[in-house]
């Protein structure tokens, strides 16, 4: 494999800085919860369903205690009390919280009694996650491992039944991973819609039922074609943690999940986002789900030549946050992208350099490589060639997960034929240039090598500044994606709640094991 020069000392320095940056935030996280987190926990214990208007039970229950200023104790505190007060199940308890008399949490059973009432439900909640993981892993293990890069394609009809048909078609065409893109609006919804959905533009709603339907389709396809098909969706937006849990119990393999994407690209409040991502990742870690981080997006708003180092710096930060939440390197699909202006001379060499650099710095990680999008135009023929060059870099540098470019990128979500042709072209490039990366070496001090050195140097420098100014400062300054966000701005801030000293969340505690996020003292037990 052709390598670029990487100064291991600098890499270590970057990792240390990133750890410091994340540690600082972890202190905040450990002292807060959010409506999203509490809904997640309530779901995990078994609450489900929605009312006639489609409002999920977990929203009704959590919002009620939030509005009453009681959520700081954690929703489970009230669930435990309801169980002790006569509810025969968590579902009944949740209904009581939603529709019954408001429990102010005063008097009644002791904390120890509440903990005891939650003991079995907590065991069940964890068992559900573990069971789904084991079932998925068993099926997966029954098929041979697909060679990297894994071919990842998107399905996005808006109608889950068409999605299922197209997911199977994608498998037929050679896809290894199928993503159902979410409806444009979903990430800003502060609830997860219920049931199967057939409307949604720009994509299909992420719902638990929809996850089931696609899982069924991809598992059928796996049996039909003798290849396991990975399923992925988005754990992102205001319901990041809830979706992580749904994905966990429905046996998804992968999730788009990032420590900062929501802040930068969805204007979600930074505090809310950091709190949610921690719990989401605790679940993801337990479920053995691979995450895909979103640094690739930075290059759609910032210049891919000038700001390449921001991608690398952010990857170190995302990695640190993920470590804090118990996600192992083997599940950390850091995102990066092929987004340099194609009219730039030797841009291919710059892309190659960056791809190889990331590959070397994150050798255990299932890094995720994103195709050109920003400079795509309606000339579908040219676009197809642009993707071919991207594919070549993917196979040369042995990217782990490769989202396939579509020739219609500038026009619409991929149609059936677009996806098929993209898979066909990708298979051709991967096969025709299979061992190309192993066949060559990069010239010392050449364009590729120098570029790699420069990007790492700049990333180190940036991390030094961020460490000094904290992540909040960096985000406010527009260090990432050229987007500026304030600590108290953005959507969903009202959903953040400081934890009570006796905040109760035994599932989270179990997920944290002994190793709580970062080192900061938490009160999650």
């Amino acid at each position: 494999m052709a390598t670029v020069p990487v100064d291991e000392g600098k890499v270590r320095a970057c990792r240390e800085l990133a750890a410091n940056i994340a540690r600082d935030v972890q202190g905040y996280i450990n002292q807060h919860t959010s409506v999203g987190v509490e809904r997640t926990i309530l779901r995990a214990y078994g609450a489900e369903g929605a009312d006639a208007e489609g409002a999920p039970l977990v929203n009704l229950a959590v919002d009620r205690y939030k509005d009453a200023g009681l959520l700081d104790r954690g929703i489970l505190y009230f669930v435990g009390r309801a169980l002790l007060g006569g509810s025969r199940s968590v579902q009944e308890a949740a209904e009581a919280l939603a529709y019954g008399d408001l429990d102010t949490g005063e008097g009644g059973p002791s904390l120890e009694e509440i903990r005891e009432a939650l003991r079995q439900p907590t065991i069940d909640a964890l068992a559900r996650i573990d069971g789904a993981r084991d079932q998925r892993d068993a099926l997966r293990a029954s098929f041979p491992e697909a060679p990297a890069p894994h071919k990842y394609v998107i399905v996005a009809t808006g109608n889950i039944w068409d999605d299922a048909l197209q997911a199977k078609a994608a498998a037929y065409g050679g896809a290894d991973i199928v993503a159902v893109i979410r409806a444009t609006a979903q990430s800003l919804l502060d609830y997860v819609p219920d049931g199967a959905t057939t409307e949604g533009f720009g994509g299909t709603f992420a719902t638990q039922e929809n996850f089931k339907i696609i899982r069924k389709a991809t598992n059928e396809a796996a049996k039909e074609y003798g290849r396991y098909i990975q399923q992925t969706n988005y754990s992102s937006g205001l319901c990041m943690a809830e979706i992580a849990w749904m994905a966990a119990v429905e046996g998804l393999d992968m999730l788009l999940n990032d420590a900062m994407y929501g802040i930068l690209f969805r204007d979600i409040n930074p505090c809310r986002n950091f709190v949610d991502q921690y719990v989401a990742r605790r679940i993801i870690g337990r479920a053995g789900i691979i995450i895909n981080t979103g640094e690739d997006n930075y290059l759609t708003t910032a210049d891919a030549v000038e700001k390449a180092h921001t991608v690398l710096a952010s990857q170190f930060i995302n990695e640190a946050f993920a470590h804090n939440a118990g996600v192992s390197d083997e599940k950390l699909g850091l995102g990066h992208a092929y987004e340099i202006n194609p009219s730039i001379e030797n841009s291919f060499l710059f892309e190659l350099s960056q791809a190889q650099l990331i590959r070397q710095i994150f050798p255990q990680h299932p890094i995720k490589w994103m195709p050109p999008t920003k400079f795509k135009t309606g000339d579908i023929f040219q676009s197809h060639v642009h993707d071919a060059m991207f594919n070549l870099v993917g196979v040369m540098t042995n990217q782990s997960i490769e989202l396939l470019g579509m020739f219609s990128e500038a026009i619409h979500n991929p149609m059936l034929m677009d996806r098929f042709l993209s898979l066909k072209a990708t298979k051709y490039v991967f096969n025709t240039a299979k061992d190309f990366g192993d066949e060559i070496e990069f010239k010392k001090d050449g364009i590729v090598a120098k570029r790699a050195v420069q990007v790492l140097d700049e990333a180190l420098e940036l991390l030094q500044t961020v460490e000094k100014e904290t992540i909040w400062g960096a985000i406010a300054r527009g260090d990432f994606a050229d987007v500026k966000r304030l600590r108290d701005g953005g959507k969903g801030y009202k959903g953040v709640v400081a934890r009570h000293p006796e905040y109760l969340n035994p599932l989270l505690s179990l997920l944290e094991g002994d190793a709580k996020g970062g080192e900061a003292a938490g009160t999650g037990g």
């Binding site: 533009f201 720009g202 204007d267 708003t301 135009t377 059936l416 034929m417 098929f420 042709l421």
Partner: protein, 256 residues
């Protein structure tokens, strides 16, 4: 022996004024076009014939099915070439075209100074659920687009960029608050015509409040053209490749 017909030299330039446009493949008048489409039928002789007929229904003469491939079980993708029988009469096509002359920064400045004697105030946003800010940023922010700096960089503009996912009400409120001369709306997502609906809803809001005449309203995005913008009730529309200078020039022509 092949007798070479000696035609009068036609020359290599495009000839006389023509209004009837047919597709041009290799020779004038051949009508050649390329199509690709998927039909829900497995490949085979019948499928091939179905694709031919399908092409013929579009007015394609002698369709050639160049490729037939199964893209999903029971679905075939066809690539077809053929001679289109249709012609468009260019003479009948009248489209409103934005014909603003590109003015230099100096002229823009001078005219606003002279006519308004104050800064021209613009408020922009990407509305609805649309979160694609790159386009509106390119027009408004200092950085600009393709080397052309944005309105923020002009001494004579006061530019407010509200960013993405802005509700129409929010946008209007802000425009009133800063006493804007012009409102700039960006719409990138076009699925199910959401761009048209979002944009029309904003004009509707202005109309309801009797404020339509108070602002010059611009619409932009990759699937926007001037014609569409006019149809939706805007004053002008700006598509792919628009530069900040184009917008500045237009606003000066309109307002100063």
């Amino acid at each position: 022996m092949q007798k070479a017909a000696k035609l009068p030299e036609r020359g290599v330039e495009m000839s006389d004024e023509k209004q009837l446009l047919r597709a041009y493949g290799d020779r004038r008048g051949d009508g050649m076009i390329q199509l690709s489409f998927t039909l829900e039928v497995a490949p085979g002789a019948r499928a091939r014939e179905a694709a031919k007929r399908f092409a013929e229904l579009h007015g394609i003469h002698e369709p050639l099915v160049a490729s037939m491939e199964e893209v999903a079980p029971g679905f075939s993708l066809f690539v077809v070439y053929g001679h289109s029988q249709h012609a468009v009469d260019l003479a009948t096509i009248e489209v409103p075209e934005l014909r603003t002359e590109a003015l230099s920064r100096e002229v823009v400045y001078a005219r606003i100074q002279e006519k308004l004697g104050r800064k021209l105030v613009v408020v922009g946003a990407c509305t609805g659920f649309d979160a694609h800010t790159v386009g509106i940023d390119a027009i408004l922010n200092y950085k600009g687009f393709s080397g052309d700096k944005g309105l923020e960089s002009y001494k004579c503009f006061e530019a407010y960029n509200l960013g993405a996912q802005v509700e129409n009400e929010q946008l209007l409120a802000r425009a009133l608050a800063v006493n804007a001369d012009a409102i700039l709306i960006s719409q990138i997502i076009t699925q199910r015509n959401s761009h048209k609906e979002n944009a029309a809803a904003f004009i509707e809001l202005l109309n309801q409040q009797g404020l339509r005449d108070r602002f010059v309203c611009l619409l932009g995005g990759p699937r926007i053209d001037h014609k569409l913008a006019l149809e939706l009730g805007f004053d002008a529309g700006f598509g792919t490749g628009t530069k900040p200078g184009d917008v500045a020039s237009y606003l000066v022509e309109r307002l100063a």
